[in-house]
């Protein structure tokens, strides 16, 4: 372990970058990579990275909404409102490009509104097909990947085969290390408390990815390989669309539970995005979306969400499931009642938390989480 990757330095570096506002973050980003913004794990960060840019994920930070109402109706989720607000407040001037992809109606609408502002110099709409179990979707997505590659090469830099393979390997390693940390945290939660864990995840969407991998490797190496007795914590599975905010993880842990697995679109859901390294890289990037990746905005058949969730919850041995959903997220709220019923039929208790800005209504959430965890705790 080098000095730069000692546990204290790792924590300091991660907390430093994740404590900054978007405006302040620009000064600590790598100077040799232009930041390209994106919102969704369906955007192949590997391609952006291989072009020589820094993929920078916008995650709906806490921001008072004062400008976005001039463009958006109130019934949009926090991610949509907060991202536009950050753009209009001048927080995102450092971005040299932005990538939207086809997910929900709100993001689709945001893309066009965003383009009209003319603030970020280049913009691309990557049209990931919605019908991900259609044989016709593969050639379509492959053509979209080619189009995206062309956009990046025109606006950022040439993507050579070697660079793309290197980027794929880098991002695969990041997913592997994160997956290890997820597993280790189950019994070592005292060493990586929830709020810090959420920051580790967030940092991975903002900082230089080679440095990020070094930090993750340093972190894994620093953790003991045997358990440290956090068995008394109630294992919880967290599902939803929520990007990682400190609040939720610490509220759950403070109540005496631990998130043993999640399906958040900034979290463990991305582990299913591993890319095969032994084939044509663009083909492999295309193919991964047809393997096991699932986002509720996509169609894999009427039972897909239920089947995947039940399997994951069973594998995680969680005692309860918390649905952490953005208010106004149609894709998640349409699925919720049937998922709740399916889980409860298997004896798994559930709690629904409908949230907007992560900083708001903390006390209310605290009481609800405490009550849920108490209900799951042995007498």
């Amino acid at each position: 372990m080098t000095k730069q990757t000692s546990p204290n330095n790792i924590r300091k570096e991660i907390e430093d970058i994740t404590s900054r506002s978007y405006r302040d973050i620009a000064s600590v980003l790598p100077k040799d990579r232009m930041p390209i913004g994106f919102f969704c794990p369906l955007v192949p960060e590997e391609l952006i990275h291989a072009a020589g840019a820094l993929p920078f994920r916008l995650m709906g930070t806490s921001v008072p909404i004062t400008h976005a109402q001039a463009h958006l109706p109130p019934y949009c989720c926090h991610l949509v409102k907060a991202s536009l607000e950050s753009l209009l407040q001048g927080e995102l001037h450092f971005l040299r490009g932005i990538v939207f992809c086809q997910t929900c109606d709100s993001m689709q609408g945001l893309s066009d509104i965003w383009a009209r502002q003319g603030i970020v110099p280049s913009q691309f709409n990557l049209m990931i097909p919605t019908h991900l179990d259609s044989e016709h979707a593969r050639p379509y997505l492959r053509a979209e990947m080619e189009r995206f590659k062309y956009f990046l090469e025109s606006n950022v830099g040439k993507i050579s085969l070697r660079k793309l393979k290197d980027s794929i390997r880098l991002f695969n390693h990041i997913r592997e290390r994160l997956s290890e940390i997820y597993s280790l945290r189950r019994t070592l939660s005292a060493r990586i408390p929830g709020a810090y864990f959420a920051r580790i995840i967030r940092a991975g969407y903002w900082m230089d990815r080679i440095r990020y991998l070094e930090l993750l490797e340093g972190l894994v190496d620093s953790l003991p390989k045997q358990t440290e007795g956090s068995d008394s914590l109630i294992p919880i599975y967290l599902t939803g669309n929520m990007a990682h905010a400190d609040t939720y993880f610490s509220l759950i842990e403070d109540a005496g539970a631990i998130v043993v697995r999640d399906d958040l679109c900034s979290g463990a859901r991305t582990f299913r995005l591993m890319v095969a390294e032994d084939r044509d890289p663009l083909e492999a990037l295309t193919e991964r979306y047809f393997q096991s990746f699932f986002c509720p905005t996509k169609y894999l058949g009427p039972q897909a969400h239920r089947d995947i969730l039940l399997q994951e919850v069973a594998d995680s041995k969680a005692q309860g499931v918390i649905f952490l959903l953005y208010k106004y997220c149609e894709a998640c709220f349409f699925d919720y009642p049937d998922l709740k019923s399916a889980l409860e039929a298997k004896g798994i208790s559930t709690l629904l938390l409908e949230v907007e800005d992560p900083v708001q209504s903390k006390e209310q959430l605290k009481i609800r989480i405490q009550a849920f965890v108490e209900m799951l705790s042995p007498l």
Partner: protein, 408 residues
């Protein structure tokens, strides 16, 4: 401006329209008596292959509008909410789910589908909605994925939709256990194109002053172009309607005796308040002469002889599947083409695909045309999200602004 009476001229064809829709719903409701299968289909879905295969389509959205207009939607939404669905979800979907759960609504128990057909060219909501109903009813679903077109349509997008249309035919053949007849599809397709052309011509007659067929009438008479597109019934009905409306034009008669302010409407109607809004506007001499909603069924990309590729293109390029720049252009064309003094936009909390972007459209259209716009907040079928007195006040002030602007 004081409210004064402004007599409305009834459309005589309305009696034929009612008979037609009663016959349609009777057949769908009792499809088995006619030896037919039923498919539930989204409003943007390709219905022509269904009629070509002898399947009766049932449109939950159209039914949602019917529930809204008959003010039955709220209790059905509440039934869905009791099952755990959020009130923030689309009220068409909640109405349909509530109807299915309770067996209540203007039609009573809904016609049981043999399968579902869903196209996301109108919104992403329908995917989740049809997944729910596929699970609840235990029937297969065909999903047509039409990628959103932000700016230009790419060849690979068209190929993708065309290939899926071929898959749709194969799906129908599997469900119905009989081969698809191209000859029959051609006939149905030709009728569909005729009905679309007639509908386009009818709604464009309101470019005349005074408008003979305002948007509130179009909201009602659009039902056949949605549900019966591809049938002889729709063609016959629209020929009859067109004749009557053309006669009005010849006679220089509008739908209302007095037409001082011409307006364009954007978004799905507020179904439960159509009558009141129409009365309120007309009593102040204002008429909605055109709209973006009913003109969406005048498929602009539908040209030439009917073909699967042609239908693929037209379904991929309908109003709601196109980006903001297109919508701005379309609205400008409507305002200018219909000689409107202003426009009203319904910010519809149930329809994000229609409503997000309206503030930018309003600004750009006003800038380009010099015509003012008003955004009112409501929901297409859920009356709980509507404050009629507040909207009335907003409209009243808006009309005063237009009058002052016209006089200056």
């Amino acid at each position: 401006m004081n409210e004064t009476s402004n007599p409305y001229r009834e459309i005589h064809a309305t009696a034929a329209y009612r008979r037609l829709m009663i016959a349609y719903y009777f057949m769908v409701k009792h499809a088995a008596w006619f030896g037919k299968k039923v498919a539930w289909i989204t409003s943007g879905g390709p219905v022509e292959p269904l009629y070509a295969m002898g399947v009766l389509p049932f449109y939950p959205e159209n039914y949602g509008a019917m529930c809204g207009a008959s003010r039955m939607s709220v209790s059905l939404c509440e039934a869905a909410e009791q099952r755990g669905y959020s009130r923030d979800l689309c009220s068409y979907a909640l109405t349909d789910i509530g109807s299915n759960l309770t067996g209540k609504g203007p039609l009573g128990v809904l016609p049981k589908p043999d399968f579902l057909v869903c196209a996301n060219n109108i919104c992403g909501t329908v995917i989740k909605w049809y997944e729910i109903q596929a699970r609840a009813l235990n029937v297969p679903v065909f999903f047509l994925d039409t990628p959103f077109i932000h700016d230009e349509i790419h060849d690979h997008t068209l190929r993708y939709v065309e290939k899926q249309m071929e898959g749709y035919i194969a799906f129908l053949e599997r469900q119905l256990k009989r081969p698809f007849s191209e000859k029959r599809f051609y006939r149905v397709g030709a009728r569909s194109l005729t009905a679309i052309r007639l509908w386009k011509e009818i709604i464009e007659l309101s470019k005349n002053h005074p408008a003979p067929f305002p948007a509130f009438d179009a909201f009602i008479h659009m039902a056949p172009i949605v549900t019966l597109r591809g049938t002889r019934w729709a063609v016959r009905y629209y020929r009859k309607l067109k004749k009557e409306i053309e006669k009005r034009v010849e006679q220089g008669k509008g739908a209302f005796a007095r037409e001082e302010i011409r307006l364009i409407w954007d978004n799905i109607p507020i179904w439960y308040d159509i009558r009141n809004l129409s009365k309120m506007l007309s009593s102040r001499g204002a008429v909605l002469v055109g709209d973006t909603y009913t003109s969406a069924w005048a498929h602009e990309q539908m040209e030439g002889a009917p073909s699967l590729a042609g239908f693929a293109r037209s379904h991929a390029t309908i109003h709601l599947n196109l980006g903001l720049e297109y919508k701005i252009k379309k609205m400008i064309e409507l305002v200018e083409g219909y000689g409107a003094h202003g426009f009203i936009m319904h910010s519809n909390r149930s329809c994000k695909s229609y409503s997000i972007g309206q503030y930018d459209i309003k600004r750009e259209v006003s800038k380009a045309t010099g015509r003012p716009g008003l955004i009112i907040e409501a929901d297409h079928t859920d009356a709980r999200s509507y404050a009629p007195k507040q909207v009335e006040k907003q409209i009243q002030i808006f009309l005063e602004i237009i009058r002052e602007k016209e006089q200056s």
